[in-house]
């Protein structure tokens, strides 16, 4: 089936045949009856007090931060539309990536969705033209569900909420059809049947099930149905795997140590697949400048979890690779990362005052080293290499 086979389907108006309309009516009546008992003229809440509290933003922000911390990082911010932004004070506002697209801050590396084929992380193999990754991954365990969300934005206007696209992955969802009140139009992703949903006169959602995971792509008003379908079809599963047996987790070394001197070698597992590699720093200057090389088998966007800072992302060339280049809000370089031909993701992050030319020069000098070459390099650099257990 192709797009030419699209068909309009008017699905039933009921939410779920197992839901009892009488119960729904009863619950509705109860809520309205209880709401009618709510005291609405209280001296304790006055607009003057709101204004007084508004004048103490630091205190309020601190309280919200404490609150956010108390719930263990549970999402209290939303970013669905410009009209309904996150109800948080500025200090508790989410981090930003790729401009100012609000996202949820998270220090935890992303976990993956388990499928019958094993754990995967699902990503656009190639983003639809004009879109860019807009934020971190929301990864949240619910009582009966586990959800992930990725946010994409139109590259030309990353702050324009009307052009954002959310991609949701969820384990426990009831059905994959559109809401009962909306129109549905089917399409396919390879052999998988999917459907776009017409909501409020616009095609804003595409849902389907793949390997037991429900995928829900939700777009804002300025995203067309064609773009929505393109997003859906761009998704592919990236298997989560460890580096090949015998392959050192840190398999890249700089071709020259004239500028950079190895300080330490380490093998740190961050989350499931991410390995810290080598620290290099120049030996002069008051403020040591360093580079840290990370490699992992997974998704390149996981770089944002390692960096753990808001960053603006552009693209550069690193040794023939199409690479991402992340800077902070002041334009200072933070990291560059790319995918090697063997699928391994490589990121070089700066530590201290390192400018863009230095970062790119260092990154471009990296070359794959087999275990013997790495051992030789490490010996020359004066640190020991610990190989992973095959």
């Amino acid at each position: 089936m192709t797009d030419h086979d699209d068909r309009d389907v008017r699905i039933g108006s009921g939410l779920d045949p197992s839901i009892d309309p009488a119960l729904e009516t009863h619950v509705r009546d109860v809520l309205h009856a209880v709401a009618a008992t709510t005291p609405t003229q209280l001296g304790g809440i006055q607009v003057s007090r709101v204004r007084q509290r508004r004048a103490r933003p630091v205190t309020i922000a601190a309280a919200v931060l404490v609150l956010a911390g108390a719930v263990g990082g549970v999402l209290i911010a939303t970013h669905r539309t410009a009209d309904a932004p996150a109800p948080v004070t500025p200090a508790a506002a989410p981090t930003t990536v790729g401009g100012a697209v609000p996202t949820t801050a998270s220090a935890a590396p992303p976990t993956t969705v388990s499928t019958p084929a094993g754990p995967v992380t699902m990503l656009p193999a190639a983003l639809p033209a004009g879109f860019t990754l807009g934020g971190d991954v929301l990864d949240e365990d619910l009582p009966n569900d586990h959800i992930q969300r990725r946010v994409y934005a139109r590259a030309a206007a990353p702050n324009d909420a009307s052009s954002w696209v959310n991609i949701w992955f969820s384990i426990d969802q009831l059905g994959v059809t559109c809401d009962g009140q909306v129109e549905e139009q089917s399409f396919t992703i390879g052999e998988v049947a999917a459907a776009t949903c017409l909501i409020g006169g616009r095609w804003t959602s595409a849902v389907w099930k793949m390997d037991g995971v429900t995928v829900d792509v939700t777009a804002s008003s300025a995203v067309t149905r064609d773009e929505l379908v393109a997003f859906a079809r761009s998704l592919s599963e990236v298997p989560v795997a460890s580096p090949a047996a015998g392959q050192p987790p840190f398999n890249l070394v700089p071709s020259s140590t004239d500028t950079w001197t190895a300080l330490a070698g380490d093998d740190i597992t961050v989350g499931r697949t991410v390995h810290s590699t080598l620290w290099f720093a120049n030996s002069t200057g008051d403020q040591p400048a360093g580079m840290q090389v990370w490699t992992w088998a997974g998704a390149p966007e996981e770089a944002k979890y390692i960096i753990e800072e808001p960053l603006d992302v552009t693209t550069v060339q690193v040794a023939g690779h199409d690479a991402y280049f992340g800077t902070d809000g002041d334009g200072n370089p933070l990291a560059t990362w790319w995918v090697q031909d063997d699928g391994l993701v490589v990121m070089v992050a700066v530590n201290g005052p390192v400018d863009q030319p230095a970062l790119l020069a260092f990154a471009s000098s990296l070359y794959p080293a087999d275990a013997a070459a790495l051992a030789a390099f490490a010996t020359a650099a004066g640190f020991a290499v610990v190989h992973p257990t095959p």
Partner: protein
């Protein structure tokens, strides 16, 4: 990311007018989602503070206020759950019909996310898509949550009409 269904205001009113005309609704919503008049009052006030903080830039204060009320209510409830992990839920009495009171007791004992979905669906009359946007959840998850909440209420209510 679904555009909020509430109509955009034709003319912008001042914050004081906004406050006075929306206070009752915010208090009721916060009461229903938190299950407590007192906690709801605190939540409502915090929500108005959030609105006031961004008053100059908010395009739709009604939607912003509702989002603030719901999310702050959920956050407060989660915090309280953590603080009284082993304590029994204390439900404030309300004076309605006995059958209504029983149902309300059951609603208050629902997990906060389920209660939020119930309130937004049946008190605010929002569609599931709108609720998904409000709670920042996938549509299917909202469906599952609503289904689970109703199934629980149905199981626990003895004299449902």
């Amino acid at each position: 990311m679904i555009d909020d269904p509430l109509p955009v205001r034709v003319a912008r009113i001042g914050f004081d007018d906004f406050y006075s005309t929306r206070l009752a609704r915010a208090l009721r919503l916060a009461h229903l989602v938190t299950g407590s008049v007192a906690v709801g009052q605190e939540v409502a006030q915090d929500a108005f503070v959030a609105v006031h903080t961004r008053w100059a830039t908010i395009e739709n204060p009604d939607a912003y206020l509702r989002t603030a009320v719901v999310n702050l209510s959920r956050s407060v409830q989660r915090r309280q759950i953590r603080e009284r992990r082993h304590a029994s839920t204390i439900v404030e009495p309300v004076a309605t019909l006995p059958a209504y009171d029983e149902t309300w007791q059951r609603v208050v004992r629902l997990p906060v996310d389920q209660r939020a979905v119930i309130v937004l669906r049946y008190y605010e009359d929002m569609s599931l898509n709108e609720i998904a946007a409000e709670l920042d959840r996938p549509l299917g998850t909202v469906k599952s949550t609503l289904h689970r909440a109703l199934a629980h209420l149905k199981e626990t209510l003895h004299d449902r009409p």
